[in-house]
Subunit: 308 residues, 2 copies
């Protein structure tokens, strides 16, 4: 799957992943009204609204970008109906030949991580048969529990030709609280120690030019991105924090390798809720998906210019 | 909810939580066959089997213990049908007046953690109405992203009178890979630095005698438990790793405070799959739930003796 992701990035010339994080405040009124007329103001109604919203967005951007990243929390908050919308979204995006990165940030002890890996990336056995649960192409993973929390994910990725993005340095303001603390015997911050471990995992699990074990490093920390780029030369870096969280094209340069590859930049609300921004307000709420398309094109230009 | 948990622990004299982690290899053959006859060897069939297994277990232990801890990964691996079984299990346990600790280990940046908190512990707004998604009483949370990943959970707990157990030192063999690394300026391992932060969160969010912000510390690391007990005097410690993972009653003493409270010990396969152990083999597979009850009683004795 990493080979497919790299191919699609080259083909679209857009190292961009669109975050499908459908908060209700982003979903246009007409979509909400129609869903609520059909299902009432219920969890099912909310799930229908976010599914219709996602579908229109995907229809308008699928030819421009290589990948999407649905954030499962935004679906999970609506309970079972929300998770059904998450699954429908994954299936639809795969029909459109998009690479799907499940932003699930799972991570647990061995047998439990194995269950998560099987549920999100692999097949679960039921008697003599086996089934995909959610079937994303990549998943994000939290490394706090160490190798035996991550190894089961790697095992399933190897079997299924899928991939991971492991949290190294997250984009949020308080990410430094633990991640930036300097480890005594290494004389390096924790995120770098985690990055070195990701590099070791990556080396052992290579696709054609890049490993299928990648990392998450926030666009909001470009100096750390510069260091981590060198620490993990074979890992794709998933870079959240562009746009709404404050990251800009020029901050992104050092997340890429000299081959112009090695990073994929996420934008969520900057694209899916573009119609709510002054720049794209002229599209109007009804044309939210056209506004999203315009925002993708602008983001593609911004990054292409920054990369020179 | 922490007050209810403490009351129920005192009443049952059992600081025990039963981990409802229904791996298929634990589910007796007759339950699997019946479920597969009705639903086929499908995800629905697997979900029916784990639900019937859970229901029988809960019916046989609910009067002996204060709480259960369903591990969501074991359900999530079966996709949507599995998560429906997770929700049915939560609802049924609450009907039986058990405190439900959702072992979800979620954790993300601010707005995303808010969605998880709302989905698992709070109510989500849909138009003018609001709904519980999964409605556990407590949730486990991963702290790697720092305060702005945890704060939204605390906010929802305050509103809903619910609680958290934050991962500090996990029970798995490789937990030390990052958690034990010594932080230079604090000259203490990371788990202790995280523990100190948990203590600060706990102090600001008190129930009657204990805080509703607790911690997870593995039974497999009793020496660290001893230190962390002092670092977080007001936090309940959820202690996994008893039984199958190698922890014993005598290892648990230092996880408790002098009031005999402050810790709740989890056992999963040691109880729910007791019938597969030599000690309880005489019950036979058909009577797996009676074997589980006997295992709870033995565990209660083991801990009571250790606590003197």
């Amino acid at each position: 799957m990493i080979n497919k992701l790299v191919e699609k990035i080259k083909k679209t010339n857009a190292p961009i992943v669109v975050g499908l994080d459908p908060m209700m405040k982003f979903v246009p009124g007409h979509i909400q009204r129609k869903a609520f007329e059909e299902y009432g103001e219920t969890l099912e109604g909310a799930a229908e609204a976010i599914w219709q919203y996602n579908k229109a967005l995907v229809d308008h951007i699928y030819d421009l970008v290589p990948a999407v990243k649905p954030q499962i929390a935004m679906y999970e908050q609506f309970g079972i109906p929300g998770l059904i919308a998450f699954k429908k979204t994954i299936d639809y995006c795969k029909e459109k030949d998009l690479v799907v990165i499940g932003d699930v940030k799972r991570g647990d002890i061995g047998s439990t991580s194995e269950a998560y890996a099987v549920g999100h990336l692999g097949k679960v056995k039921v008697g003599e048969k086996s089934y995909y649960g959610f079937d994303e192409d990549f998943a994000t993973v939290n490394p706090y529990l160490g190798s035996d929390g991550v190894d089961p994910f790697i095992k399933v990725c190897k079997e299924e030709k899928k991939g991971l993005f492991i949290l190294v340095k997250t984009s949020n303001p308080s990410s430094g609280e633990f991640q930036d603390r300097v480890i005594k015997d290494a004389d390096k911050p924790l995120y770098e120690v985690v990055g070195e471990q990701v590099a070791r995992w990556a080396e052992g699990h290579m696709g054609e030019s890049y490993s299928y074990i990648g990392a998450v490093v926030g666009a909001t920390y470009p100096e750390m991105g510069k260091i981590l780029r060198k620490v993990m030369p074979k890992s794709y870096i998933l870079v959240p924090g562009y746009g709404a969280q404050g990251g800009k094209g020029k901050d992104l340069v050092h997340f890429f390798n000299e081959d112009g590859l090695g990073a994929i930049v996420n934008s969520s609300r900057g694209i899916i809720a573009a119609y709510q921004q002054e720049t794209y307000a002229s599209f109007g709420e009804e044309n939210f998906a056209d506004a999203a398309r315009a925002a993708v094109i602008d983001m593609q230009k911004d990054i292409a210019e920054a990369l020179g």
